[in-house]
């Protein structure tokens, strides 16, 4: 007997989960306050589509702006800290320990500085996503195999050529891993800050409907954020695979490489 492919098992599990979401509330095992049926959630999402769409646009706008800040500043500072020994020794321990601080504690300060509108969410989520991007960029530059630089120098590479032709391409995979994580954190940052103090956005809708115990509308908001995060994750993965061709090429074609290796001794003997 052969096992089904993991991908089909995953889809089956998802389908089962959705069916359970629909069936369990119908049986009356759980009150609607705990878990409204899937159909009811979707119905609410459809009837309130204009409200949810407007809220989603606000959230998306905040996420986009904070990602720009997190990724831009993260790469810039990470490259400086990873590339210069002085800054590295001075700042890296500080940044690494700051990473452990629950930055959400600073959010009240952000609202005091930037108000309850979008700016405070963008600033907060930007800071939240900045750390992984910056740390992995610094690590990516720091951990480059010195043999690469030695080889480049022996081939006559100038300092600027070493940076553009070796250091940058060599650190792309690590930087991308940081961007994926940092981007996910900005989504979390935006939603959390919307839930705390806000006047718009999906997170705000969820909190608002929770206080009035409107369970289907709470779940509708959760569903929207779920879809948003999964879409982001898939987009980031697709982008990463395209950008880091040489890594995926190595992984996917290992079997074919094995075949060609066996064919090599022929020219050697000639």
């Amino acid at each position: 007997m052969s096992w089904p492919a993991p991908a089909s098992v995953r889809w089956l599990l998802l389908a089962l989960l959705l069916v359970a979401w629909e069936v369990v509330p119908l049986t009356g095992a759980l009150p609607e306050l705990f878990l409204p049926a899937l159909s009811k959630t979707l119905a609410v999402l459809y009837s309130d589509r204009q409200i949810y769409l407007a809220a989603l646009l606000v959230t998306l706008y905040e996420v986009a702006c904070s990602m720009l800040i997190a990724c831009g500043l993260g790469i810039l500072v990470g490259a400086l800290v990873g590339g210069t020994a002085l800054l590295r020794d001075l700042l890296l321990p500080v940044f690494s320990s700051l990473y452990a601080v629950p930055i959400v504690i600073l959010y009240p300060i952000f609202t005091a500085w930037f108000g309850v509108g979008s700016s405070s969410k963008i600033a907060f989520a930007g800071v939240y996503g900045f750390f992984p991007v910056m740390l992995s960029t610094a690590a990516g530059i720091r951990t480059i195999d010195p043999q690469f630089l030695l080889a480049a120098r022996s081939m006559g590479a100038t300092l600027s050529q070493q940076i553009t032709r070796v250091i940058i391409p060599a650190s792309v995979p690590t930087v991308f891993a940081g961007l994926r994580l940092g981007g996910a954190l900005t989504i979390i940052g935006v939603v959390v800050s919307e839930m705390l103090t806000a006047s718009a956005g999906i997170g705000y809708l969820v909190t608002l409907n929770r206080t009035i115990l409107d369970s289907p509308r709470v779940f509708a908001g959760i569903l929207a954020i779920l879809v948003l995060s999964i879409a982001y994750y898939m987009l980031a993965r697709a982008l990463e695979t395209r950008m880091v061709v040489w890594q995926s090429a190595g992984r996917q074609q290992r079997s074919s490489a094995g075949v060609s290796t066996a064919a090599v001794p022929a020219p050697a003997a000639a």
């Binding site: 195999d145 043999q147 080889a151 022996s154 090599v264 020219p267 050697a268």
Partner: protein
């Protein structure tokens, strides 16, 4: 008359020296005055010769090679490569091939081979032409679009050799290029290298730990002592060329290998 012939011979050899190292010492900076890595190295490598350097780990073989490549400067003494000193890397004069393949994983085989040419801004078409010629020289036609991950250890070293040869430098420095390979691949690669060497007329300085490899490849073997490194023996390998695997079983081969081993063993 004999004397005159010797003088003429000597002059010819001096004129045709590819590398002249004179009184080179190297000290690594440290708290207590530093560590002496090399002491008073003096050697001359004739054009077109295949010279192998052997010695215990940490004897400064690699440091010496770095200096010949212009990647490091000696604390004392002079180094002349092809008639000129080498204050910084000069890839058109000296090609270097390292221990591990050190190919760039983000570049395809052909792009890796072309890398030194692209640094100099050689036009794309000419680059492709030359890298393809190198690829077939090392016997890897058809693997140009592959990435290093997809190649075996031996294939990677072939690509590294192609990259070292693509600028056609008269001098090739190799720092334990086959150390990471298994015994069989290593033998094949050594044989390959001799084939390439005989077609390209390069001067080669080759570092290895393997005594068999040293005798099999070399015209001359230089034996270095443990740190601080100095040259303690200079052995002419008079085995005929082209070399074959069968020679390894001969008495002469065994004696040469034994002599190197005795030198290394008694080295302080």
């Amino acid at each position: 008359m004999q004397h005159l012939a010797n003088v003429t011979e000597l002059r010819r050899r001096v004129e045709e020296a590819a590398i002249e190292v004179d009184g080179v010492s190297h000290v690594y900076a440290g708290a207590d005055g530093g560590v002496a890595a090399l002491v008073d190295i003096k050697l001359a490598v004739g054009k077109g010769r295949f010279v192998v350097i052997v010695g215990p780990s940490g004897c400064g073989k690699t440091s010496l090679l770095m200096m010949l490549a212009g990647l490091r400067q000696p604390s004392q003494g002079t180094i002349v490569c092809l008639g000129r000193p080498i204050p910084k890397p000069d890839p058109q004069r000296v090609g270097v091939i390292f221990q591990e393949a050190s190919l760039f994983p983000w570049l395809s085989t052909l792009d890796n081979i072309e890398f030194p040419l692209s640094l100099r801004g050689v036009p794309r078409q000419e680059r492709r032409q030359r890298s393809k010629a190198m690829l077939s020289l090392v016997g890897l036609e058809g693997f140009g679009e592959r990435y290093p991950h997809e190649l075996s250890g031996g294939m990677k070293q072939r690509v590294a050799i192609a990259r070292g040869l693509v600028q056609d430098p008269p001098l090739l420095l190799m720092d334990e290029p086959f150390a990471a390979l298994d015994e069989q691949t290593r033998m094949t690669m050594g044989h390959e290298l001799l084939r390439i060497w005989s077609t390209t007329q390069k001067t080669v300085v080759f570092i290895t730990h393997s005594l068999t490899e040293a005798v099999y490849l070399a015209d001359e073997v230089l034996v270095m002592s443990a740190r601080p490194g100095r040259i303690i023996d200079h052995i002419q390998v008079t085995l005929p060329r082209p070399r074959s695997y069968e020679m390894m079983a001969t008495e002469q081969f065994g004696q040469l290998r034994d002599r190197i081993w005795q030198q290394i063993r008694k080295a302080p």
